[in-house]
């Protein structure tokens, strides 16, 4: 069956829960792979710091080569931390950049810089979104990726000191959460001004693999909710791990879609949403470290059909695609949705 909607129309309808010509396929988190880099002629590490290359890898790679309904930038979650003073280690050709040195200690009082938008790779990602909007904006949804306030706050002092302080002296982490919120909002607003149709918040540290439901409700969810309200465009919220105990709290953030891994019991979440009259599409949950990396295209098509049968509304890898994922496997997600 050939498509009768553009990716953009399809995804916007899917996010609203309206009928579509076929299931929508996106990658809520990063989808640059070595084979995709070769296919479009734009590679890491250059694409992390060059807007044209970032727009080519994400835009041409996502919209033309893989055939996703949405394209997004950037690839890593270190841009906010770098702009706020972190020292970054390049990932070279094969890795994403990582934080070599966190900018703050727990006892510091951080101050949000006025020139945040001119720092580090922030302007690169914003420019890449504007280039992608120009070229692909009428065909696919263009999304800007930001960290969640809780995750940015973590990256400012380091996970271990952050989680210890959260447990013992929670007052000390409030200024970092505030700063995380400001960074995320400022970055997100700049994407929107550059033409982004939607924002993806990756709040991977707010996962229940890391923190308790109580901590999620007290320290992560309120900032996600405020951020989503203040951004004012559709927001896809991605959180890793087993989220069963907070699926209703996530719905309460006001996000347009929740992106999850296969660790989440999706039928149970759908039933709970239905009971409460919540119409929040669930995005996921093709395993990026399982079938997507190791499976055959046929197995991936089966995984897509299985995800749809379990109530997944929009197909996506459950987390960032591993860079060594075969390109044929990413394309197989789209093919699986076409013959669903």
């Amino acid at each position: 069956m050939s498509d009768t909607m553009t990716g953009r129309e399809r995804l916007l309808k899917a996010l609203k829960g309206e009928p579509t010509d076929r299931p929508s396929v996106i990658s809520a988190c990063q989808y640059a792979t070595y084979e995709l880099m070769d296919a479009v002629g734009a590679s890491w590490p250059e694409a992390h710091r060059d807007a044209e290359l970032m727009a080519t890898l994400s835009g041409k790679g996502g919209a033309e080569v893989i055939g996703l309904d949405a394209i997004r930038a950037p690839y890593c979650q270190t841009i906010e931390a770098e702009a706020l003073g972190a020292k970054i280690k390049s990932g070279g050709k094969t890795h994403i950049p990582s934080i070599a040195e966190h900018p703050y200690k727990v006892d510091d009082v951080p101050e949000f810089p006025d020139d945040f938008l001119t720092r580090g790779r922030v302007p690169v990602a914003v420019k890449a979104v504007s280039l992608m909007k120009e070229k692909y904006g009428d065909q696919v949804l263009v999304m800007g990726g930001i960290g969640g306030p809780f995750s940015i706050a973590n990256s400012l002092i380091g996970i271990t000191p952050f989680l210890k302080a959260m447990f013992k002296t929670p007052d000390k982490i409030q200024p970092f959460l505030e700063m995380g919120y400001q960074a995320a909002l400022t970055f997100g607003k700049a994407y929107i001004e550059a033409g982004a149709d939607a924002i993806v918040i990756e709040d991977m540290m707010a996962s229940l693999d890391m923190i308790s439901p109580k901590n999620y409700r007290q320290l992560a969810q309120p900032y996600e909710k405020k951020l989503i309200a203040d951004l004012g465009v559709p927001v896809i919220l991605h959180i890793c791990g087993k989220l069963d105990k907070v699926m209703l709290d996530i719905a309460d953030t006001g996000c347009a879609g929740i992106s999850v891994e296969s660790a989440v019991n999706i039928p149970a979440a759908k039933a709970a949403y239905k009971e409460k009259g919540i119409r929040l599409p669930i995005i996921g949950d093709i395993s990026p470290s399982g079938v997507l990396l190791n499976g055959t295209p046929d197995e991936i098509k089966d995984a897509v059909h299985d995800a749809l049968a379990r109530g997944v509304d929009i197909i996506s890898p459950g987390c960032a695609a591993a860079p060594s994922t075969p390109l044929a496997n990413l394309k197989a997600m789209v093919e699986g949705a076409k013959d669903a």
């Binding site: 280690k89 990932g91 996970i159 210890k164 447990f167």
Partner: protein, 228 residues
């Protein structure tokens, strides 16, 4: 029965009690209490090397199980580890000269591209308390550094951690580097971390996948008992 053996029995009973109290304090995240009990054990002359395994490691094993069951989360686990470390610090001067031969030797680290080390640190702590000589290479460790450590320490096992789908591929680099240098068959390779699995271990040519710290120690016990 002589007075001496009665006293020994009394001491043994007290040691048993303090051992349980220390284990509980670790599980309950009571750092000062763990330190206090450890001091009482040494002051009373009750320290024995096996306390590290039966009390400190046992407490951490319970904490890891509570984490796996969704009762504890990472901040709790970190606080348990603080309590375990506080007790171990008190015991350290008493461990000199008395240390029995370790059950085996383990090289551990987070692979290149991954700066996460919480899980790896907890696993290293539990393995060490479980009676193993541990060489912790830290985080974001290149394959060549793992291979150098294998040549330097001749470990029974190399434990590789990765928390990210974007860095787990670099576990394969370590396997290949050991193969290239001809040391692959000298040790077992255990992998752990959120995105990896038994099938991933098989795919990259590693020997085992350990879902948690407790399982890692059980695997090591198995590997080392088969060796001897």
């Amino acid at each position: 029965m002589t007075a001496e053996t009665r006293e020994t029995k009394g001491q043994a009973a007290l040691r048993e009690q303090l051992k349980r109290n220390l284990s509980d304090a670790i599980v309950e995240m009571e750092v000062e209490e763990a330190e206090r009990i450890a001091k009482e054990i040494t002051a009373q002359g009750l320290f024995q090397m096996n306390l590290l395994e039966t009390s400190v490691a046992a407490g951490m094993a319970v904490a890891s199980r509570l984490y796996e069951e969704g009762e504890y989360f990472i901040p709790e686990l970190l606080s348990c580890a603080d309590a375990a470390e506080a007790a171990t610090e008190i015991f350290r001067p008493y461990m000199l000269g008395e240390k029995p031969a370790p059950k085996g030797c383990v090289v551990i680290g987070s692979v290149e591209g991954d700066t996460h080390d919480i899980g790896k640190n907890i696993v290293a702590l539990v393995i060490e308390a479980g009676g193993y000589e541990v060489h912790d290479l830290g985080r974001d460790v290149p394959a060549s550094v793992f291979a150098d450590a294998v040549e330097a320490h001749h470990p029974d096992a190399v434990a590789l951690a990765s928390l990210m789908t974007t860095s787990m591929g670099h576990m394969a680099d370590v396997v290949q580097e050991l193969t290239r240098r001809g040391t692959r068959s000298s040790c077992k390779i255990i992998i752990g971390g959120k995105p990896v699995s038994t099938s991933f271990a098989k795919k990259i040519g590693a020997d085992y996948y350990a879902p948690g710290a407790g399982e890692a120690v059980r695997l090591l016990d198995d590997i080392c008992s088969r060796r001897s």
